[in-house]
């Protein structure tokens, strides 16, 4: 979706009006081009909604069936890191919105600053996610690869969590279902993190191009569309946070 003109030119010599270099050949006007790519981005986000929809459906059914396992599984997540990560991602959404604004008002310095901040916050989010995943690995809560039901069969053995929630021991069959919780936890956060990684990658590309002033001369389409993607990933997290972290904390 970059603005080079790879499309082959029309065969017949056409009378071209002067138009900006970033306007693609098959569009009549810059506005049409903007509208079109913007709409396309929204449609792409629809597919993303449905992509996560399958996971959310699975999550809801399993949670309904194995609620006690989900409660105690959720108690294993760090509410501090989870909340911090939510704040980080919300802030990155804000800086991304500001980046789009900077591009619209054509301030290159501001644009680079906010893109940079978004990048840092994005990396920060992934870092915190990494810390949390690492903790899960340490505690043997990675389903299929390294899993132990000890913290659920005997919660008192897991002192830090026990101190806070005084969980009762789960019956063995229910304790086994915590693996379902962590399977969904890793599937959901993993898919989300994958989207973050892709987003951060594109962000680097945008920063490089922004440095050469590509987006501060009136052509904001790409930054704006990327912003939509970034906010969408934020929205997914807005739902993951209460669904995964905030199950019966009282």
């Amino acid at each position: 979706m970059s603005d080079s003109t790879a499309t082959a030119n029309g065969a017949v010599a056409e009378v071209h009006h002067e138009h900006p270099s970033y306007q693609r050949h098959h569009f009549e006007s810059v506005e049409q081009q903007f509208d079109t790519t913007n709409f396309a981005m929204w449609l792409f986000l629809l597919t993303e909604v449905m992509f996560f929809g399958g996971l959310f459906t699975s999550y809801l059914i399993m949670r309904n069936w194995y609620y006690p396992a989900f409660v105690e599984g959720s108690h294993q997540l760090s509410i501090f890191w989870g909340t911090a990560n939510t704040a980080v991602l919300l802030c990155s959404s804000f800086t991304m919105a500001m980046a789009v604004w900077s591009a619209e008002v054509r301030r290159k310095g501001m644009l680079l600053l906010f893109l940079g901040l978004t990048f840092v916050l994005g990396i920060g989010f992934l870092g915190i996610k990494g810390i949390e995943w690492h903790e899960k690995w340490e505690k043997s809560h990675v389903p299929g690869l390294r899993y132990s039901e000890a913290s659920f069969l005997n919660p008192a053995s897991d002192k830090e969590v026990y101190k806070e929630y005084h969980d009762k021991p789960l019956a063995p069959d229910m304790a086994a279902k915590t693996e379902q919780y962590f399977f969904l936890y890793f599937a959901l956060t993993g898919m989300h993190a994958l989207h973050m990684v892709i987003g951060v990658g594109i962000l680097i590309f945008i920063m490089v191009r922004a440095k050469s002033g590509a987006y501060t001369s009136g052509h904001v389409t790409f930054v704006e569309n990327f912003g939509l993607y970034w906010h969408f990933v934020d929205i997914i997290w807005i739902f993951l946070y209460p669904l995964l972290y905030l199950i019966s904390r009282y």
Partner: protein, 555 residues
């Protein structure tokens, strides 16, 4: 113009293919592989789906040969299972889903709406590359020993009980799914944003409406298939997952998510075919489609209802019976728009001026076969009869009547219809009429006996079967041979026509679509200048006036 045909060709002694067209614009392999031109991408798609069609067809031939005898005489049971699985996977995901939209749709949609190209040419190219990548994965799967899940990847069979190449097959389908998402996305955006001045929604040809409806399904349905395949592969790797009954998962959840895509998928396959039929019937009866609005909205209605019917694949699989009733009712409702279309097409013929060129013959074949396919679908949508008929050859026959009798017939109809536009040359008429007839006869011979087999109870996906079913299976295999000839013929004469076919001129059918108002083959950006739509779709009187004007100006 003779009395029996509408074909008007230019004087062959003087006519030439226009020197400048999208095929001759640039040369060299790279100019094709890096093209952004929708017509070139459509051509690439046409070549690749034909390739996969013949692989799938060869596998179908093997299936029919094996079923010639009641025993597993040609191949062992596990080979047979792999053959039918690969047949299903290739035909569904690499032929039927992309067939009309990615080839014919890609070729004509921008021209029909009066645009220079699809809205996102690079995404369009990307979609073809994804298709090829997925296709390569599929070929790799086949070379590495195949997969025997059936095309439905039923859990827990696919996740815990098979050690064939499930992961690579799922990856192939996953990638091909994204190819389909991008095509659909591109169409929706193009139809919304790229219409030429004067082209209002109700002046769009019905082909556009039906592709629009199919595209909605692609965009909203396919991602669910993608995630469900990711979960299947995850479950295979880590041996735990939400579909695993041993760990408290629910295998029926897989069915829900899988059919949420895969039922709309059959509408993705058939809706564009409806579009082709609307164009063809109108052109060859010289009449506006009867009840344009009804036909247009029935496509959209199918797209909307398509998302409410998926569980009719699971009536006997242990879903709640109350839920089954709801889904059965919705299934009955989705059948109505198809009935509306059939009758509207039939009445388009009323007081028309009908000629019987090959596309029209295929369209007639489509209407007969699709009526049977659609009606037998109601048998399966009604919960009570579904118990008896599901999972037997009745399902196989129903599905093939809709997909082969419906979709493939309309695909061939469309290919013949737009061939002159695509290549600038006509196909040989008599030979192609013969091929259409052969296909129709072969098809009925192949698949009609399967309805009886299914009613008698012969289960599908059986490598061996009780001997009393042999007679009907022999008929079916015999028919498949005829059908095979019917499919080989077009490939031969269409290739021949590339060099020796008569020069077609701009508008051999006297059709009204915008794509026919430009040269054949078209220019790279379709029109010398962006057209202005100043008439309704299928306005044959406008066309006549236009031609009289041209004659007058030449005179």
């Amino acid at each position: 113009m003779s009395a029996a045909t509408i074909v008007t060709l230019p004087d062959q002694s003087t006519a030439r293919i226009p020197k400048m067209n999208f095929l001759t614009k640039e040369n060299g392999l790279l100019s094709w592989l890096l093209t952004g031109d929708h017509k070139r991408i459509a051509t690439l798609y046409l070549i690749s789906i034909t390739f996969f069609f013949f692989i799938g067809g060869a596998l179908a031939g093997l299936i029919r040969l094996e079923l010639l005898t009641p025993q597993t005489s040609l191949m062992a049971a596990d080979t047979y299972n792999k053959v039918f699985s690969m047949h299903g996977l290739i035909m569904v995901f690499f032929f039927l889903v992309p067939s009309v939209p990615a080839t014919i749709g890609n070729f004509v949609v921008p021209m029909m709406v009066g645009a220079k190209d699809l809205a996102l040419p690079k995404i369009n190219l990307l979609s073809w590359y994804l298709y090829v990548l997925g296709g390569c994965m599929m070929i790799y799967t086949m070379a590495a020993g195949g997969v025997d899940t059936g095309w439905t990847f039923t859990t827990p069979l696919s996740t815990h009980y098979l050690n064939t190449n499930v992961a690579s097959a799922a990856t192939a389908v996953f990638i091909a799914g994204f190819s389909s998402i991008f095509t659909g996305l591109n169409f929706i955006v193009t139809i919304h944003k790229m219409r030429c001045p004067g082209m209002t929604w109700f002046r769009l040809p019905l082909f556009i409406w039906s592709n629009y409806a199919a595209s909605i399904l692609m965009v909203l349905g396919t991602p669910v298939l993608a995630i469900v395949l990711v979960l299947v592969v995850l479950e295979r790797t880590v041996h735990i997952g939400v579909f695993d009954p041993a760990y408290g998962g629910d295998p029926i959840l897989f069915q829900h998510l899988f059919w949420f895509y895969s039922h709309p998928a059959v509408y993705i396959m058939i809706l564009p075919g409806f579009g082709v039929i609307s164009e063809v019937i109108s052109t060859f009866s010289r009449k506006r489609v009867f009840g344009y609005t009804a036909v247009a909205f029935s496509s959209v209605a199918i797209a909307v209802f398509a998302f409410f019917v998926w569980a009719h694949h699971m009536f006997i699989m242990g879903i709640s019976n109350y839920s089954a009733i709801v889904f059965s009712l919705m299934t009955m409702l989705v059948a109505v728009p198809s009935a509306i279309k059939i009758f509207n097409w039939a009445f388009t013929l009323y007081k028309g001026s009908i000629t019987f060129e090959t596309p029209m013959l295929y369209a007639f074949g489509f209407m007969g076969l699709f009526t049977i396919g659609g009606m037998t679908g109601v048998f399966l949508g009604s919960t009570g009869t579904d118990i008896q008929l599901t999972e037997t050859y009745f399902i196989v026959a129903h599905f093939h009547f809709v997909m082969v009798g419906g979709m493939l017939m309309s695909f061939l109809s469309g290919i013949h219809f737009w061939w002159p536009k695509w290549t600038g040359r006509m196909y040989p008429e008599k030979l192609s009429q013969l091929a259409a007839l052969t296909t129709f006869i072969g098809f009925n011979l192949t698949f009609f006996p399967q309805f009886i087999l299914g009613t008698l109870g012969m289960p599908r996906r059986y490598a061996a079967y009780p001997p009393e079913f042999q007679a009907l299976n022999v008929f079916s295999t015999a028919g498949a041979t005829v059908l095979g000839v019917g499919y080989l013929l077009p490939i031969l004469y269409l290739t021949w026509s590339l060099k020796y076919g008569a020069i077609a001129g701009d508008n051999p059918w006297q059709a009204t679509g915008l794509e026919w108002q430009t040269q054949s083959p078209p220019l790279t950006e379709n029109f010398p200048e962006i057209p202005i739509m100043d008439h309704e779709a299928y306005d044959y009187e406008w066309l006549e006036k236009q031609q009289q004007k041209e004659v007058a100006s030449v005179g």
